[in-house]
């Protein structure tokens, strides 16, 4: 221990205390991947925290410059790997904007269906891994059971469980399989039942409330100041949701609510995911009802060259507002692709809010922010 003690000082009782550095991560059970926090601790209290990320930096933005526009589409799903079907959406919208492609209506509906299903699976993963940080392994399996149901549906459509290369430039990669719609409707009931099980087991649990209520509250001004988006922002009392406020795709045709909670503490950030999951299920049900026939993919040339220009598009992804800045110089390869990742901005709030939390609170805090390292590090 002796070598990284930062210096001794006296506490209020006159005892000599020493602060020490604790490296939480990159290999740590509760950092959800390779996130590392460099904590200066006084006993079990965090004095200051510093984000150390980049352990999963794969240099994808640079790689995009060496690939064609459509070759890069599958890479986009590797950014936020917990929501692999939802991820390429902003990118393909950017491409369609650049190339002036009109997406068939059926494709838009299928995108909404797969995207929302993917949001459900992503939120379930978030609540599951959050309760796992409180060592609730049983609750974790319940959430994973619910998630498996969603993944079954997605797999039938996209052919993959996690990283779906499904949304492509001009539509979706394939049509819905035959007989999928009634199956999906039946499965959604089961998913809701499993979600209710989980909700009953965890949400009202006194210990869970004790560990999340009032921990690291972020008010809406702070949230905006730090660039928080998505569910984290909505848990802070600011009901911003691009799906409702600036509808892309066909979101203006669905009737759904944007849940808002006002305390901005860990419990709110947790519970808003459960609420959003229910809303997403609503959207999927409506989309399945309204699903039109027709084509599912616009005609796009194999060697596709958009006009020179740039597009900046944003969608409401699972972890917040995600934007793509795609610059084209008129060739088949993108000149520059930049992704504004919600997780990267969300973790900016950690150093501000961490001081004064105990280590256990810090764990619930970072779990409730729901970041994904692929999204942060790119």
């Amino acid at each position: 221990m002796g070598d990284n003690l930062d210096g001794a000082n006296l506490n209020s009782d006159g005892f000599e205390t020493q602060e020490f550095i604790l490296n939480l991560g990159p290999q740590h059970p509760s950092t959800h991947g390779v996130y590392r926090a460099r904590l200066i601790m006084d006993g079990e209290t965090v004095v200051s925290a510093e984000n150390k990320v980049g352990y999963l930096h794969r240099g994808m933005e640079k790689m995009a410059e060496g690939l064609t526009f459509s070759q890069f589409t599958p890479y986009t799903s590797r950014f936020d790997y917990c929501a692999g079907a939802l991820q390429p959406w902003a990118y393909v919208i950017a491409l369609e904007k650049l190339g002036g492609i009109v997406v068939p209506e059926r494709a838009e509906y299928i995108r909404v269906i797969t995207g929302e299903l993917n949001r459900i699976s992503s939120h379930l993963l978030m609540v599951a891994s959050m309760v796992l940080d409180f060592s609730a392994i049983t609750a974790w399996t319940y959430a994973f059971n619910a998630r498996e149901g969603v993944l079954d549906l997605l797999e039938a459509v996209t052919g993959s469980r996690l990283l779906m290369h499904y949304m492509v430039n001009g539509g979706v990669w394939a049509d819905l399989p035959e007989g999928w719609v009634p199956k999906a409707e039946a499965e959604l009931d089961r998913i809701i039942a499993r979600l209710d099980d989980f909700d009953m087991l965890v949400s009202g649990n006194e210990i869970f409330l004790g560990r999340t209520k009032g921990i690291a509250p972020i008010n809406s001004e702070e949230a905006i100041e730090f660039g928080l988006t998505g569910a984290n922002l909505r848990a802070s009392g600011r009901g911003l949701d691009l799906r409702r406020d600036s509808p892309y795709s066909v979101y203006d045709r669905f009737d759904f609510e944007v849940p808002v909670l006002h305390n901005g503490d860990c419990w709110d950030r947790y519970y808003i995911r459960i609420m959003e999951t229910r809303e997403s299920i609503k959207i999927v049900r409506q989309a399945l009802k309204q699903l039109p026939g027709g084509d599912w993919r616009a005609k796009v040339a194999k060697v596709w060259k958009p006009a020179a220009g740039e597009a900046y598009t944003m969608i409401e992804a699972a972890r917040g507002v995600q934007a793509y800045h795609v610059v084209s110089d008129g060739t088949a390869k993108p000149y520059r692709v930049h992704m504004r990742s919600p997780s990267f901005c969300n973790i900016g709030v950690i150093p501000e809010k961490a001081p004064g939390l105990t280590l256990q609170d810090f764990i619930s805090f970072i779990a409730s922010l729901d970041f994904v390292l692929g999204d942060i590090d790119r």
């Binding site: 990320v53 905006i224 691009l242 504004r340 900016g348």
Partner: protein
């Protein structure tokens, strides 16, 4: 979207070009603070495009005046006001030789992570802010990968010899 011309009217140092505000990089703090004072805005993203001399600059509507070689740095401001959830772009063109811009961390705290990212990947040095250090790449990484003149390091099957014990211990 609020009318961009109205916004520009209160910002004496900005001109409207291609649906974006174009400013001198050195005035960024002033302009962004003025935008923030209008209320209902949040710094959403900082993007940067490297445009070496000779490449045709491009923008959505019409062409950006041909700068010889520049970094096209853009602050993307999210308009949060009711009913309009759009992006206000404040752009500035920075010389290749003096890749510098003032930090807007004092205006919006979300700039902290974003500026570190732009520094790491694009090599724009943001002045007037603490700990501008690499955020994604290793501390001993050479170059800024998203620049167009970045030379891909030659990689063989084996990891580079630059790993030392210090890196293994996680000390940066």
């Amino acid at each position: 979207m609020r009318d961009i011309n109205k916004i520009a009217a209160v910002l004496p140092k900005a001109e409207v070009r291609d649906g974006a505000l174009v400013i001198q990089a050195s005035e960024a703090v002033e302009v962004l603070a003025a935008v923030k004072a209008l209320g209902g805005f949040a710094l959403f993203d900082i993007t940067c495009v490297d445009r070496p001399a000779g490449t045709p600059p491009a923008s959505a509507e019409g062409a950006v005046p041909a700068y010889p070689a520049c970094f096209e740095l853009a602050w993307r401001i999210w308009d949060l006001s009711e009913g309009s959830k759009d992006i206000l772009t404040i752009r500035s063109f920075i010389d290749h030789d003096r890749a510098e811009a003032p930090s807007v961390m004092a205006v919006w705290k979300s700039a902290d992570m974003l500026e570190r990212e732009v520094w790491d990947l694009m090599g724009i040095r943001f002045t007037g802010r603490p700990h501008l250090e690499r955020v994604l790449n290793r501390a001993d990484f050479e170059g800024h990968p998203l620049r167009k003149d970045f030379v891909m390091p030659k990689r063989d099957r084996f990891p580079p010899a630059s790993w030392d014990k210090k890196a293994a211990e996680g000390g940066q």
